[in-house]
Structures are given as C-alpha cells and as structure tokens.
Amino acid sequence: MPAKATRVAFGEAILELAAKNKRIVVVNADLGKSTMTQKFAEVYPDRAFNVGVAEANLIGIGAGLALSGWIPFICTFACFVIGRFETIRLSISYSHANVKIVGTHTGLGIGEDGYSQMGMEDLTLARALPNLAIIQPADEVETKQAVAYAAEHDGPVYLRFTRQALEPVSPTGYTFQFGKGTVLREGTDVTILGTGGPLFNCLQAADRLAAEGIRAEVINISTLKPLDEELILRSGGKTGHVVTVEDHTIRGGLGGAVAELLSEARPVPLKRLGVQGFGESGDPRGLYAKHGLDPDGIARSVMKFLKI
C-alpha cells in the first residue's frame, strides 16, 4: 500500500460513508481543497456548506446542525479551528453537540508554509475539554476506520490529520478500536509511544536501536482521549522506560497525557519528544531531522535517555 496523507484518506472515507449515512454533512471554511472534501461537495451539494474564512461561525453552525440531529464534519486547518477554542468549548463541548471537528495540516509535517499554518498546540487544548474524544490515525487504513467510527460515536470528536503522506504502519487485518492503542512491535527495553506523523519513523528508529542491542516496543496511540491507560502502564511497567513521540508541542499533548498518567499511577522515567518551541518553514523531512523526529533523531534520543 503506498504512502498517503491522512487528510486524503479522510476525503475518501467521508465520501464513502456519506453514501450510506445520509445524516453526514460537511462544512468547510474556505479550505475544502486542502481538507480534501471538494469531491464530497460535488457529489453531495445538498449536504456541503462553505462558510468562508469564518471559523467561529463554522463551529457554531456545526453545533446547530448537530443539535438538530445531523452529523456535521467541520473541516479546516487544526490551528484555525482549535484556535477558536472558546467557541468550541461552549457551542460544541458544553452544548454536548455531536460535531466531528476535523483538523488537518498538523505539525512540522506541513513543511514550507511555516508555523502560522501548523497545528502545534491543538492536542493540548482539545484535551482540556471533558467530553471531546481525540483521534489521530497513523495511516490510510486506520484513518478510514477511525472516520467511520467517529461518524457513529455519540458525542463530539476531534480528528487530527496530516498534510504529508504517511507510510503504512498498521498490521495486516488491522481493526481500529476506539480508546485502544496498538503494539506495532514488541520489545522489552524501552516503550516508544507514537502518534500520527512520526510513527513510521519510530519503527525505523526501533530497527536502528535493535542494531545496538536495544529491544524497543513501539505502540501506536491513535486515540489520545480517552487514553489506553492499561496498555501504557503495562508496557511501561515491563520496559521501565517510556518515550513519547509526536509532531506537536511537547507541552500537553501525548507527552503531557502520558506524564500525567505515569506520575500518578506508576512512576516510570519518561522522555517526551516533539516540538520544543515554534515550528518554522522548510521541507518536512528537513524539519523532522532538525527537531529530532527522524529515525536517527529518535534513536539518538532513546539511547541518551537509556544512558547508552
């Protein structure tokens, strides 16, 4: 299976789902070309809306549609939609509106457009809302199942997608389970918890670590809320070292969630890998290398963490 951006897989998934589920509506804010929902708008013009460059209105219209029984997917760049945090907080979250918030263009992986377009703090903010589920699939197979799940989930969901193509990482015959992580590679020396874009690099880092005699367990945490606490505690308890890897700020995202969990339930040494400061322009690969999210960078950080 070739590499594919999860936003592209989303665009295909929503088109397929809409044929069966007649309650699905797509609302865009002038970024339909980028959220890959233009095809949906062509095929289902009666269920597609574009509110223009007006994200707060996007959120409110989504809430109103949901509170009247429709299933709106409101789509734009992650930083633009989650940036209207307080509108989401009241109109969607506190209203218990069944809205599916789709944030694309996340992290350094968007590349040349630079920090202003990068969803970089969206997980931190989304995690604060009590009833908002968060899913970040890691490849095409998982995206299609996660989108199908989100349409059925009773309550608001935040779906986080990438601009850049992602190599497949899911095992053959994979079945997405909401709230469950997936062990992609078993190991005994260190647990690497990855989410979204950098997961393929985590697997490659595990190969490099194996060459050094380190057996890394690599887990895909695609549901960030609720977190698969049992799996993380079990794996962390087994290996004694936990590393989180995400294309997102290290403050409050996957790393933050895992830090909260481990420090209360089972203190295990933890290293958070991700973005330390702001993002910047550049080619995605180059940015991953500069910020230590490429296979070498991850492997290096793990070895340093293990004091090898």
């Binding site: 223009g52 409110g60 219209i61 109103g64 509108t87 218990h96």
Partner: protein, 313 residues
C-alpha cells in the same frame, strides 16, 4: 391581535417581572437589567402565538427553536419556561445554587438529561446566532416548517462572530436553502456591562449594517409596547426569501425606577429590600397603598415575606 389578548400578554409580562426579581434576589447575583428589557419581547414571542411549541411534548421535532444568545438574561427565559409548564415554580428558586440545573447561564444538559426549552449553551456573547443558523439549515434540510429565533443583546453585537453569522445567513448554501425561517431579535437596550454602548463602542448605523449584509430589518420603536412588539413579530413572520432581524428599542431595567437605564444594574442582583421595592413598582402600587395591597393579595404577600426572610439570613 384583540385588545383582550394584548391585555393578557401585558399582565403575563408583569407577573414574569415579579418572578425575575424574586429569582435574582434569592440567587443573590445575576443580571436584572437585561432580563427586564427582554421580558416583554419574550412574552409576546412565547405567548402571543409566534413561537410554536407543544407544552406536553417539549421535544416535538417540528417545534420552533429559541436560542438566547445573550445568555446572561436566562432568568427571563426560565420564568417563561416555567409558565409553559416545563419547570415548577419552586424549582426556579434554585437558580445559581449548587446542584441545580438552573445554571447562571443557559446549559442544555447532557444527553439523557436535556433541559426542555434550552436548546444550546450560551453566555459567551457572540455565539448564539451561528448556532441558530445551523439549526435553521438543519430544519430546512429535514423539510420541517420550524422557525429559529435568536435573541441577541446590542452590546453583544460588538463581537466579530455576530457579523460572521450575519454575513453568512442570507447566503449560506448558495441559495439552496433560503433561511427565511430565521429571525434574530436584538434587545437594543443601549447598555452593556461596563457602561452605555455608545460610550463603549457605538454600533450605529445599526439597522444599515444588517441591511447591508442582506437581512430584512424591522424596527420596534418601543420594545415594551406589547401592541408594537406583536405587530413587529407579525411582520417578521411574513418575510420571505431572507432572514429577518427585529431590532427592538428597549429600556434596560424596565419597570424598576432605580434600575431603568442605569449601567449599574447590568449584573447586580437586588438586595431583599430592593427586591421588594422592585416588585411594588412593577405592580404599580404606591408606597402608601402597599400594606393594604399585600393584605388583599396573599400571593404577592407570600413572596414579600420570603424575600424579607432572606434579609435575616
């Protein structure tokens, strides 16, 4: 509308004002000014035959929706919902108390415990009109005859999201769904939290802004004249092809001399003695006649006793 019906609405609004003051005095905090400026509009909307609902079936799918975007005035809405029978009078006094579903600002409750008549969470000003547009679209897509009403404050119209919504309502869907089922009502009381709207950030030309965005504008010169309100709402319902906004010129704190047109009373609840005076003024009883009135009107006397008891707490 027949004179007798208007008289009924006027009498209802008077009772509602008493209940608003009673609730707020019990709560010890809240927003009397805007609740009193909005209550005549709400009374006409709910009991003048404009908003369609079924008291026995609050979730009737074809009901009209009402969104109180100026959520701080929710005591006025609670009182109206009490009159419909969605809630009991006693429950109204739990406003703002621990464990009560009567939150200080509208909260629709979680699925399974939804609050009839509270269609969405509001109170962060500027958000309600967008929600109302989503609902107006939704009922159109379902082919239902429902209308969606949304009440905004004029100070609230300083928020950018109001104008995102105002711009989109006449145009959304590229003409496939004409939202002539959407009616915004602006309670133009000219006072906001800190001060007068004109001293803070003036909105004029206000009606022209809505017109420029493609709305049909109806102005009600006196938003406390029940006949004028009814006439305005009647005209609003006749508008086709585009959404309509009813701009009602009101007086903040209407009905209570010391609250009227005074920014101080935006967000301060009356103390018990102030509450009792407010009720006397709302009922139009002179001070010298008050004790006699109370002897003749046990229902009001009971409320006054209740508020007097708060004084000693």
């Amino acid at each position: 509308m027949a004179t007798a019906d208007l008289a009924h609405l006027i009498s209802l609004a008077r009772e509602f004002r008493v209940q608003i003051i009673r609730m707020l005095t019990h709560a010890g905090s809240g927003h009397p000014g805007g609740s009193l400026s909005a209550i005549d509009l709400l009374t006409a909307l709910y009991f003048g035959g404009f908003l369609r609902y079924d008291p026995k079936n609050p979730w009737w799918p074809e009901r009209d929706r009402f969104i109180l975007s100026k959520g701080h005035c929710v005591p006025a809405l609670y009182v109206v919902l009490g009159q419909i029978g969605y809630i009991s009078e006693g429950e109204l006094l739990t406003l703002r108390k621990v464990g009560s579903r009567f939150q200080g600002h509208p909260y629709p409750g979680q699925p399974g415990e939804r609050f009839p008549g509270i269609e969405a969470a509001t109170g962060s000003l500027g958000q309600g009109l967008s929600i109302a547009i989503g609902m107006a679209l939704a009922v159109r897509m379902d082919g239902r005859p429902s209308r969606v009403f949304c009440m905004l404050g004029d100070g609230e119209c300083q928020a950018g999201q109001v104008w995102e919504a105002a711009m989109s309502a006449p145009r959304i869907g590229g003409g496939r769904y004409r939202l002539d089922n959407l009616c915004a009502i602006v309670d133009r009381n000219r006072i906001q939290n800190d001060d007068f709207v004109d001293k803070t950030l003036p909105l004029d030309p206000f009606a022209a802004k809505w017109e420029a965005f493609g709305w049909h504008v109806i102005e009600v010169g006196d938003g406390h004249d029940m006949g004028a309100i009814v006439k305005g709402l009647q005209s609003a319902l006749e508008v086709t092809e585009r959404p309509v906004v009813l701009i009602a010129h009101t007086v903040k704190g209407k009905g209570v001399s010391f609250m009227e047109n005074n920014p101080k009373w935006h967000g301060v609840a009356p103390k018990p003695a102030e509450g009792i005076q407010s009720i006397r003024e709302i009922l139009g009883v002179r001070e010298g006649d008050w004790l006699d009135y109370l002897r003749r009107t046990p229902k009001v006397a009971a409320i006054v006793e209740e508020l007097q008891a708060l004084e000693t707490k």
